[in-house]
């Protein structure tokens, strides 16, 4: 008899005990032996120019210092062509210590390697750098005027400068009701609690890296390209991630520096970036300015939608994201134009941060929808339901499934939306503070990438399943164990899932909410095949896999490479959701508190409701931060991030977080992938900031269009 289904069960994390006891090893905690050297990076203090002089004499003679690397003595590296999905299509990554040019504040200009971290830190403080400073573009207001259309083409996965269906200008001019508004989102940082770290060790011609990364295979491929060595000679290990949210999608310059230094000093070298350094060298969500124009009939039906956005990027890479993508398909509208521009600046390259594009783009669109509801004197939920799209009007494809209406129905009921008095400033709590209810739509695309998994069925009746995937926190270990146990027909405790090593079968990037769909499908396929093989080799017939395995003389070992089918050619595949937020505003002080958020999501099948719920409320917490607190402040004189620590860059603390609830509506999507999963990572951030901003408007009558909504903007 097969054990009861474990898919869909709220299993506690299988790696929970190892995490809370400290047994789980993170990149910086590996021990490559007693000769480990510690590297500390010296970073530029100007935004643009060239290094004039660099004096390393004091550092070189400081106690414990083994070597000081600068562009003058660093080896010239091949930096062969390498582009992964996570790299901007246009431009070239920073080549670290290869020349004297400074592109941005915080760029590595030297590395001090010493016997201890303290000695290296002291040594780094002794390096003196002077510059020939050149005019640098660090002010977004100036850069905006020189913004350019993105170069990448849409068919290559790029984000186009212009898109158009129908005639939005004419339709807008003729519309009965119009809303035109501009929305601003400042630069935001990922701020994972684990600092970015890399340990590099060479053994003859092979390189091992213990790295904080969301994609071990790509770190291997990029380092092989940078150093001009075969990929077989590089191994990357990353079993645990202490958060990342996108910051560890790409290998940043310190990864190359660690490997470069390890070879230079012929010892393993560890680099742990400081919190401050992470603000200048691990990417961020770009600052955006967006303009939205909506035109509607009196009935609320959208007739025109224009959405444009300008975002910052670096001078050496053109970072683009799906800022306007959701706008083209979220609602039914015959006339839609989008316009995307990027402004090159003397900054380090932005990088995807949770729900890159959708989080920013839908903040603007969903606030504008709320403004339209007010202009129409219509309920904001009703407005969204009225404009629900039957098919993807952008791709001209049917949706594989779409639960937007159901999410609004379930979410509104759970939240108690009917208690909302639509008039702004009309609701108060028992202490007389203003209360507001707001809502927003959420959506995020479903993607499936090729992935492989290995299954070893051992003669003791247990299974080891592996894939070079990552777990930055969502619970990959747990959900994959559930998929494997269910597919094999083994109890959970007989299955071990391993990840995070390039020696394992290849896996795609742990980002874009694709891990469950992609790696999960590979795990399922490999387990199906392994189970079949085991039964084929059974000596005596039995329905019990454990019994069958115990009869075998040697283990079953299969690896399956799983390619997605062609569903994406026939269906538009997206998760949808509805977010409801309540705010309480102290009108005199301007403080906004968020006592409640309810999110309802149609995200396909939920493998583990417990970890999915955790991930969803994590997205909501991040949304509270985005709405009320987060803001990277840049000193335009030098390009320096002013608030580059967790005291200055505010994210919510527990005291800011109250009742959060995520509901996953029943959704059976037979098209997305064999598991029927859509992914829940990104979508749970989308819409949260807009729902809060709309609730603030409902509470106060004040429309704040520039994040974060600080107290000062409300008094």
């Amino acid at each position: 008899m097969s054990p009861p289904s474990v898919i869909g069960q709220p299993i506690s994390r299988v790696d929970g005990r190892s995490k809370v006891t400290g047994a789980a090893k993170y990149a910086a905690e590996f021990d490559p032996g007693p000769r480990l050297g510690h590297g500390v990076v010296v970073t530029s203090t100007i935004a643009g120019g060239v290094i004039a002089t660099i004096d390393t004499a004091a550092a070189e003679t400081a106690a414990g210092v083994v070597a000081v690397l600068t562009h003058r003595n660093a080896p010239k590296l091949p930096y062969r062509e390498h582009k992964a999905d996570v790299d901007p299509e246009d431009g070239e990554r920073l080549h670290v210590l290869q020349d004297d040019r400074v592109h941005h504040h915080g760029q590595p200009v030297a590395l001090v390697v010493a016997n201890t971290f303290e000695q290296a830190t002291h040594g780094a403080s002794l390096v003196r750098v002077t510059y020939h400073e050149e005019p640098a573009l660090t002010d977004f207001g100036q850069a905006e005027t020189r913004a350019v259309p993105p170069g990448a083409r849409r068919e290559d996965g790029g984000h186009p400068g212009e898109t158009r269906r129908g005639n939005a200008d004419a339709a807008l001019a003729a519309a009965a009701v119009r809303v035109v508004a501009e929305y601003v989102i400042p630069r935001e940082q990922h701020n994972p609690i684990e600092l970015h770290a890399t340990i590099a060790a060479w053994e003859d011609v092979t390189l091992t890296l213990w790295d904080k990364t969301q994609w071990v295979d790509n770190v291997r491929d990029e380092m092989a390209a940078v150093f001009g060595i075969p990929i077989e000679n590089v191994r990357v290990v990353s079993p645990f991630g202490g958060g990342a949210f996108g910051s560890a999608l790409r290998p940043w310059p310190h990864v190359t520096l660690a490997a470069m230094a390890a070879r230079h000093v012929d010892r393993p070298v560890k680099i742990v970036l400081t919190r401050r350094q992470m603000y200048g060298s691990t990417g961020y969500r770009p600052h955006t300015v967006q303009r939205v124009a909506l035109g509607a009939e009196r009935t609320g039906r959208l007739v025109a939608l224009h959405h444009e956005g300008i975002a910052e990027t670096s001078t050496y890479e053109q970072y683009t994201e799906s800022l306007l993508d959701a706008t083209r398909l979220l609602y039914s509208c015959p006339n839609v134009t989008t316009r995307y521009r990027v402004a090159p600046m003397n900054v380090n390259t932005p990088t995807p941060m949770r729900a890159p594009g959708e989080a920013s783009g839908l903040f603007a669109l969903e606030c504008a929808m709320d403004e339209l509801a007010v202009a129409l004197d219509m309920d904001p939920v009703q407005l969204r339901v009225r404009n629900d799209a039957e098919r993807d009007e952008d791709a001209d494809l049917p949706f594989s499934s779409r639960a937007l209406r159901e999410c609004f129905r379930v979410g509104a009921e759970r939240f108690g939306w009917e208690r909302r008095d639509p008039r702004p400033t009309s609701m108060r709590d028992t202490s007389g503070r203003l209360v507001g209810y707001g809502c927003a739509s959420a959506t995020y695309p479903v993607s499936v990438e090729a992935a492989s998994a290995r299954v070893q069925l051992l003669v003791d009746g247990s299974a080891i399943v592996s894939s070079a995937a990552s777990d930055m926190g969502p619970g990959t270990y747990t959900s994959m164990t559930q998929v494997a146990a269910e597919t094999l027909g083994l109890p959970l405790h007989r299955v071990t899932f391993e990840l995070g090593d390039t020696r394992m079968p290849t896996a795609p990037v742990h980002g874009g909410s694709i891990t469950m769909a992609s790696v999960g499908s590979a795990v399922q396929a490999a387990c199906t095949k392994a189970r079949r093989q085991a039964f084929a080799r059974a000596k005596r017939p039995s329905a019990d896999l454990v019994e069958v395995l115990r009869q075998l003389d040697y283990s079953v070992d299969v690896t399956v490479h799983n390619e997605p089918d062609d569903a994406a050619d026939h269906y538009s595949m997206h998760a949808f959701g509805a977010v409801f937020a309540e705010v309480v505003v102290d009108a005199a002080l301007g403080t906004v508190r968020v006592p409640r958020i309810v999110g309802a999501y149609g995200a396909g099948r939920i493998i583990n409701p417990k970890t999915a719920h955790s991930q969803a409320i994590g997205g909501m917490v991040m949304g509270i931060g985005m709405a009320l607190l987060e803001h990277t402040v840049v000193d335009a004189r030098s390009g320096r991030v002013v608030n580059s620590d967790l005291a200055g860059y505010l994210v919510p603390v527990n005291a800011d977080v109250r009742d959060l609830e995520a509901i996953f509506v029943d959704e059976h999507d037979p098209h997305v992938n064999p598991l029927g999963v859509k992914g829940v990572a990104e979508i749970t951030l989308v819409g949260v900031a807009a729902a809060i901003a709309n609730a603030v408007h409902h509470a106060t009558g004040r429309r704040v269009r520039e994040l974060p909504i600080t107290a000062e903007k409300l008094v």
């Binding site: 303290e118 830190t121 002291h122 403080s125 005199a588 002080l589 403080t591 508190r593 009320l628 607190l629 402040v633 002013v642 608030n643 005291a647 200055g648 505010l650 919510p652 603390v653 527990n654 005291a655 800011d656 600080t710 107290a711 000062e712 008094v715």
Partner: protein, 288 residues
């Protein structure tokens, strides 16, 4: 971080002696929650550090019969926050202790450290100013008492000479029908630095305000008293109108700057709101 000599005195005399010997490049460490980040960031590079953890005399928090409270410089914010007597007799002080950092930080951070670090935003300074606390300072020339309103001399500067140590705070006893409150504004609810903090302390007598003390944080180079606002209240009943007038005068006492945490105008607005609110609560508490 620069290499430094660490001294571990066992009593106040040893501490003062060491300070006198080592001179101005010496820093005193209690909880270290302000000092260590500044040393790690290179803002402070002391040649020597005196660790107070072995000086038991600095850790006493005691009620004096009829004459108020003595708070040792090494008493932690957490002790202030949780002490039953402080909570009932000096709620403004307890409230300020409860707002410093997080629980973990409060278990380390000390009253003396909060004052000697002399940040304009120090949370425990306004209630102690409003309570007219005196600082007891030990030095090679003996002990002296300094009114807390004379203690702060500038941003991160105090009257302490390099060879002097803050030993304790003496908080006078309050008369009957006294009440006080400390409120601050921060973008997030915990683990944040005051954009503005206001402490109000009043004593009522026969329906009029016999005494009022109002102190402000983060609106000037040092924590300050709003004396004109205090004087406007004394001898008058505390009507909403009087409280509003005091709030206006408190705003006039403020000399805020604009920075990333808030503009000068917003800080002035906060002073008005928080002064009004703390006075209103102080009045309620005085009636209990």
């Amino acid at each position: 971080m620069r290499r430094f000599q660490l001294a571990l005195p066992r009593n106040i005399d040893e501490c003062v002696k060491f300070l006198a010997e080592r001179g101005p490049e010496t820093k005193v460490i209690a909880g270290g929650t302000d000092l260590l980040p500044q040393m790690k960031n290179g803002l402070l590079k002391p040649a020597a550090v005196v660790d107070l953890s072995g000086v038991a005399d600095l850790r006493t928090l005691r009620r004096q019969d009829g004459s108020g409270l003595r708070v040792g410089a090494s008493v932690t914010a957490r002790e202030i926050e949780r002490d039953a007597y402080v909570r009932s007799a000096y709620p403004a002080l307890a409230e300020s202790g409860a707002l410093v950092g997080s629980v973990q930080i409060r278990n380390l951070a000390t009253v003396g450290g909060n004052l000697c670090n002399a940040a304009p935003s120090a949370d425990m300074a306004p209630p102690l100013l409003a309570l007219e606390a005196e600082a007891v300072v030990a030095g090679p020339r003996g002990r002296r008492r300094v009114s807390l309103s004379d203690f702060f001399t500038g941003v991160r500067r105090t009257v302490l000479a390099p060879d002097e140590l803050l030993v304790e705070l003496i908080v006078p006893a309050l008369g009957p029908r006294s009440g006080g409150q400390y409120l601050r504004h921060t973008p997030r609810r915990e683990l944040d630095i005051a954009v503005v903090g206001v402490a109000s302390q009043i004593t009522m007598s026969d329906g009029v305000c016999a005494k009022a003390r109002i102190a402000l944080a983060a609106v000037a180079p040092t924590p300050i008293r709003a004396t004109a606002a205090e004087q406007a209240l004394e001898g008058r009943p505390l009507t909403a109108e009087q409280i509003g007038r005091a709030a206006t005068l408190a705003v006039e006492a403020a000399r805020p700057i604009s920075d990333q945490r808030g503009s000068a105008d917003f800080r002035r607005h906060l002073v008005a709101v928080l002064t009004r609110r703390t006075l209103t609560t102080a009045l309620e508490r005085a009636a209990r």
